[in-house]
Amino acid sequence: MSAIECRNLRKDYVRGEEVIQTLQDVDIDIEAGSFVALMGPSGSGKTTLLNLLAGIDRPTGGTIEIGGQDIGDLNRNGLAAWRSTHVGYIFQLYNLVPVLTAYENVELPLLLHRITAAERHERVADALSLVGLADRHEHYPRQLSGGQEQRVAIARAIVTRPTLILADEPTGDLDRASAANVMDLLVRLNREFGQTIVMVTHDPSTAARAGRTVHLDKGKIVDEPEHAHGHAHDHGEHRK
């Protein structure tokens, strides 16, 4: 069953009198529980596609159906509510709120959910523990390394137990060891918790950890190789 169905997806940007077609009639199906890497040169439309899937940008044309919901039907507030429940987003530059501690950053999405303070605390503690930062609750982003910041961002993305995790070059700003750590974590989330992950990357070795790679060029999907399944590859060499 497809978790994500995009049909005739288009996104244009207008700059002065020039119309830039960032995505052109993209059709893509992504199965529930799969791990998909989006690859392509700069300006190929990877991040734009990711933003459209996250509902933080609106398409110029076409439809996006996620978990049976056409997100084009949702208004601003509806889309925000849908995002808070169904999407976890991981940024390349972590994007933690600087005045909040690691714990408070992870807690942010849960403040929108009707759960008790005790349950909230338990979920935040579990998420931070899962990413190996159980001892960093009270640390501010400036007191963490890049790898640790990205792990906090991952904890924040998974704390609401979303069905879809979207990651925009999650290892792009990390050293090799930290990048391998983050990828191990994403693979684990996909394999153990069955979360659907769509990840943008420039790095072929990072993309190889995903179960499926989709190539984009000039706003179109090109030469997508077939995979037997969409689940992550557990490549030992990437753990170094």
């Binding site: 507030n77 925000a80 994007n95 005045v99 909040l100 408070e104 403040l111 929108l112």
Partner: protein
């Protein structure tokens, strides 16, 4: 309401963890609110001293076309004539001696009053802080001093007190809510007449304080008194006490009215200060707001955060400034005195509350435009801008 409630913790952290910015902004707002509250307290004192109440029963009979205690001279014998006017309940001859006829914050006013009756009645609405009425009665040079004057001159019961060429002994100190009493030393009428005029002018007083039986006939009684004395050697002008104070203190009232502009200008400063601080904060937090919206926070949540932060800054600065003004005024016990009448600058809970509420409301209003901008910005645009 949910949007407001869930915005509170993040707003609080934004304020409490950006200490320097918060402290500087709050300090600016506090100074402006202090100024506003101080000016409003002066205006409040003027209002209370000059606005006639429905229950006003007191008239002041003064020499016609005279406005200073040095020049208003009336025969004490007018007391009987005034008492005979229909509607007059009582008439008290008062001799006033001041050390300074100009407007000042340190004027000493002696009021010479009759030995019997007046002080007993007068002290009923006041409390004697120290000394006794018996001590006052037992010595001709004794005075009972209002608390503001006593505090300013550091007087205690038993002290010698010398001002305006009048040497007295402090027999008691009393507290009163009436600004006219706080700044006055009550002396024996006969003593003050002789001492102040170096003898030979006994029987001359400055004014008569008249109580009427029916407050609704205040103006009629005043007109009747002036009519009765119109063809005498010393014609009079009789006014309700509030109107008398307003006439005597007109220069100060004009200055205080002008100061009102300063008060409102300081509120404009509060508005500008908060608007500037919030506009800068919103610009600095474009990325944070985009992050929050990516996580599912709505534009309304962001707007509440901005308005709440502006309101909290206003409330904090307003509270500090208004309470500081309340304390400073209470401590300083300021009175403007001119031509023998006093206008008190007194701490008032209502002025303090108004200062806090206005600063809070102005803060919230100052946050509206930045809040609208922040709430309408598209997420992707926010990340690009950041």
């Amino acid at each position: 309401m949910n949007a407001l409630l869930r915005s509170v913790p993040i707003t609080w952290k934004n304020l409490s963890r950006r200490t320097l910015r918060t402290v500087l902004t709050v300090a600016g707002i506090a100074v402006a609110t202090f100024l506003f509250s101080f000016v409003e307290s002066m205006r409040d004192g003027v209002r209370r001293a000059t606005e006639a109440g429905a229950a006003e029963t007191r008239l002041v009979v003064y020499r016609k076309n005279r406005f200073c205690p040095f020049t208003s001279k009336l025969p004490q014998s007018y007391e009987r004539t005034i008492r005979d006017v229909p509607g007059v309940k009582s008439a008290v001859p008062v001799k006033i001696v001041v050390n300074n006829c100009r407007a000042s914050l340190d004027v000493v006013t002696f009021r010479g009053v009759p030995d019997e009756g007046f002080m007993e009645d007068h002290l009923q609405g006041a409390s004697l802080r120290s000394g006794s009425l018996a001590d006052w009665k037992s010595r001709s040079d004794a005075v009972i001093v209002g608390s503001a004057l006593a505090d300013r001159r550091r007087l205690r019961a038993g002290d010698r007190f010398d001002a305006a060429g009048v040497r007295t002994l402090v027999a008691g100190i009393f507290d009163s809510d009436d600004a006219q009493d706080q700044n006055v030393a009550y002396a024996h009428l006969g003593f003050l007449q002789e001492t102040a005029e170096r003898g030979g002018t006994g029987g001359i007083v400055t004014q008569f304080n008249v109580e009427v039986t029916d407050p609704s006939k205040l103006e009629d009684v005043a007109a009747a008194i002036d009519e009765r004395l119109a063809h005498d050697q010393f014609p009079t002008t009789t006014r309700p006490e509030s109107a008398f104070v307003a006439r005597a203190a007109r220069d100060v009232i004009a200055l205080v009215s002008f100061a009102g502009i300063v008060g409102w200008a300081s509120l404009a400063a509060v508005f500008a200060l908060i608007a500037n601080a919030i506009a800068l904060a919103v610009r600095d937090r474009v990325r944070d707001h985009a992050i929050l919206q990516t996580l599912g926070w709505t534009g309304m949540d962001i707007a509440w955060m901005v308005v709440l932060e502006a309101g909290m800054l206003g409330a904090a600065g307003g509270a500090i400034g208004a309470v500081a003004a309340y304390a400073a005024i209470g401590f300083a016990k300021l009175n403007f005195t001119m031509e023998g009448v006093s206008i008190g600058v007194t701490s008032s809970a209502s002025v303090t509350a108004i200062g806090i509420l206005l600063a809070t409301a102005l803060g919230a209003v100052a946050g509206l435009a930045p809040a609208w901008t922040a709430s309408r910005r598209e997420i992707v645009q926010g990340f690009r801008t950041a």
